[in-house]
């Protein structure tokens, strides 16, 4: 469609040669499409191919620490000879050690639970924002985005100060005589949940807000008018209509939470197991690039499912807007 639009716009100036016009317009619109594809090719596909290739290699005490390297030192034939040394041994290894399976599983479970918690916390916030007077909505939106102004790492560090046994939270609860013993939160899964919910809350609130904000309030009035009490009206009208926002928010939290490394490392301590930390250990502690690459490739495949779901939901939401 954009093709013909551009051609029509250009037509008056070069009306003498419609063929040339069409050719030119086609080239321009193709160029426009090519740029983002080139970007994706160089910065996503090529790195992935490199990681995938490393995952098929073997560790070696060398620079880089794997073999074969696949270069042209021995000419073109040497380059292709290297392919014979590639194999799936590292993937087989991942299935043999239960540690990896457990790490993947706990990561998915932790990400799922914290996504649910983020939704529970984020929905009322987004709902309140969408129903707030239009004049203060930009301010509320600003407050949600405000944490991004400081480093994520520093904010997670700050939670250590709050959650540790002699931290702010325990001091407060002890001084109010709500508890007698300091709560052990730091270095547990609870701390990871708190960290993920806190860090990813804006990613949940923003899509929820945008879908709740554009909802016509007269729909709720219509539901009430037809005999529906407010709570039922929420579940029958508001919630179903905010589903695209719920799905978008959940995936925006779930996908990065599965591979999360900083939060479990800083708040979860050594007792907690997550795939992001496992990957880090393989890479830096064990210097086993091929195995950690295999871990990364599996993680990516694991996440493709929700990403595809996410895109599907977005496409559907866009269609509904039309």
């Amino acid at each position: 469609m954009s093709n013909t639009a551009v051609a029509d716009a250009a037509a008056p100036s070069t009306a003498a040669n419609p063929f040339l016009t069409r050719l030119g317009a086609g080239f321009v619109s193709r160029l426009v499409i090519i740029v983002p594809y080139l970007w994706l090719l160089f910065f996503f596909l090529v790195p992935f191919v490199i990681v995938f290739k490393i995952s098929l290699s073997q560790t070696a005490i060398a620079m880089p620490p794997y073999t074969p390297v696949l270069d042209f030192r021995d000419g073109v034939s040497g380059f292709f000879a290297g392919f014979r040394d590639l194999n799936f041994d590292n993937y087989v290894w991942l299935t043999q050690d239960a540690l990896y399976f457990k790490a993947y599983l706990t990561s998915v479970v932790i990400a799922a639970i914290s996504t649910g918690l983020t939704l529970l916390v984020g929905y009322p916030i987004a709902y309140g924002m969408a129903r707030a007077p239009a004049t203060i909505r930009p301010t509320l939106l600003m407050l949600v985005i405000l944490p991004f102004w400081t480093s994520f790492l520093i904010r997670v560090y700050a939670w250590i100060g709050i959650l540790k046994p002699e931290g702010l939270l325990n001091q407060l609860l002890l001084s109010l005589h709500i508890i007698n013993q300091p709560l052990v939160i730091l270095n547990t899964y609870t701390a990871i949940f708190i960290g993920i919910v806190y860090s990813y809350l804006p990613f949940m609130v923003l899509p929820l807000y945008s879908s709740l904000e554009k909802m016509d309030y007269s729909l709720i009035e219509a539901a009430k008018d037809l005999g529906c009490p407010p709570t039922a009206a929420f579940w029958k009208i508001t919630f179903p209509l905010s589903l695209p926002g719920v799905i978008a928010g959940c995936l925006l939290v779930f996908i990065p939470a599965v591979g999360e490394f900083v939060i479990p490392d800083l708040l979860g301590g050594s007792q907690t197991l997550m795939i992001g930390k496992t990957l880090w250990n393989e890479f830096f502690a064990n210097r086993d690039w091929p195995v950690s690459s295999a871990v990364a490739v599996i993680l990516l495949l694991l996440l493709i499912v929700p990403i595809v779901l996410f895109q599907h939901a977005q496409a559907r939401a866009q269609e509904q807007d039309k």
Binding site: L219, K224, D225, L226, G227, P229, Q320
Partner: protein, 378 residues
């Protein structure tokens, strides 16, 4: 028998002192902060009446409707429905339903489910719901669209779904907020008649809010004309048009010519008025006392324009043709009287050929019968 306008109305409970009011607004005031949307308003609507609230935007007509639906509570005063005070009853427990200006169709539900929504809320058994929904779809002629979603329908079809949904529960009163506002002119005219037929068929009380006077005149049994939160006049369309009680109403509904003057003399039958520049006119119906400052209001179609002074005319004023607009079904003349006032007159083109054609700048006479206009307080 003489009657205002061209229709005889047999349904007129408002003239029957024994008739029981169905909806009563009793001294209702609604304030939003400093702004008074509705000011100490009292109004009575009867059962099976098609009642229109007519006014410019911001006159408080929608607020009145929303108070009846239960979305707003009056700041002061009471609203009674069939003798029951509605104060404190939430919208979902009121026996009224509303058709929203935006239609407010649930976008995630099919046409069927939209219509069934209210019925499900009141816990109607499933087979009965199915039957009622089928009846409603038939009523609005949308049987083959039952499984569609609202975004797959045209504007007119959506309007009919909204209508079907709001009457599905058989409410005591149906409230319609600018029901035809989003439709194009042609569809709007067709739908006006459909709505009237529907009201007759279902025997419901309709309260419609509109800013379109033609719409109100076409559909309503009675019209309440509102301005700044107050009711200016409540009357049948013919009364509102032919016998407005105030300058505002005369101006708001249709076109009107206004002459300022003084009552010079009053007899039993006639009132003689002297205009500001000395012109004399005689009118039949005027209650104003001698010497009172008044306005004489007359509709353009009640004024005749001719090149010679009609022999039998009681009231005839001379001037010059200033503007002419030929509209096909009628012709509109603007005549500048010798005292400078411009008079608008319209003539129905009942015949294809005119005996006495006029053109720009012709000398012309405007004439009208003594009962053609009304005398209003200044």
């Amino acid at each position: 028998m003489k009657s205002l306008g061209s229709i005889r109305r047999d349904f007129a409970p408002w003239n029957d002192p024994k008739a029981k009011p169905y909806i009563q607004f009793d001294g209702v005031t609604k304030r939003f902060g400093d702004f008074t949307a509705v000011n100490n308003l009292s109004l009575t609507i009867f059962e099976r009446e098609f009642f229109a609230l007519l006014g410019a935007s911001g006159c408080g007509k929608s607020t009145l409707l929303r108070m009846l639906a239960g979305f707003e509570e009056p700041t002061a005063g009471r609203i009674l429905l069939d003798g029951q005070d509605l104060r404190g009853i939430p919208p979902y427990r009121r026996p009224v339903n509303m058709m929203f200006q935006s239609y407010a169709l649930f976008p995630h539900m099919t046409v069927e489910n939209n219509i069934a929504f209210g019925l499900k809320q009141e816990g109607m058994p499933k087979p009965d719901i199915e039957k009622r929904v089928a009846d409603m779809l038939k009523l609005v002629k949308l049987e083959q669209f039952a499984k569609r979603k609202p975004h797959q329908l045209s504007g007119g079809q959506r309007q009919r779904v909204a209508l079907a949904r709001s009457v599905a529960k058989r409410p005591k009163v149906l409230l319609l907020d600018e029901p035809l506002g989003a439709l194009d002119k042609k569809l709007r005219e067709e739908t006006q008649f459909e709505l009237m037929d529907l009201q007759q068929e279902l025997g419901l009380t309709f309260v419609v809010v509109t800013h379109d006077q033609e719409e109100a005149m076409t559909m309503a049994d009675r019209i309440a004309i509102m301005d700044k939160g107050e009711v200016m006049q409540v009357a049948t369309p013919a009364e509102v048009y032919e016998a407005p009680t105030s300058r505002f109403v005369a101006h708001f509904v249709g076109n009107v010519n206004m002459f300022e003057g003084k009552v010079a003399e009053r007899t039993d039958k006639a009132t003689r008025i002297t205009g500001a520049t000395g012109a004399q006119i005689v009118v039949e119906n005027g209650a104003a006392a001698t010497g009172a400052d008044i306005i004489f209001a007359i509709r353009p179609e009640k004024i005749r324009v001719s090149s010679k002074k009609p022999a039998d005319a009681v009231n005839a004023l001379e001037g010059e043709v200033y503007d002419i607009a030929y509209l096909g079904d009628m012709t509109v003349y603007h005549v500048r009287l010798d005292d400078g006032q411009i008079v608008r007159a319209s003539a129905l083109n009942a015949a294809r050929v005119t005996e006495d054609p006029l053109t720009w700048n012709d000398r012309a006479w405007v004439s009208f019968r003594p009962d053609a206009g009304v005398v209003l307080a200044r």
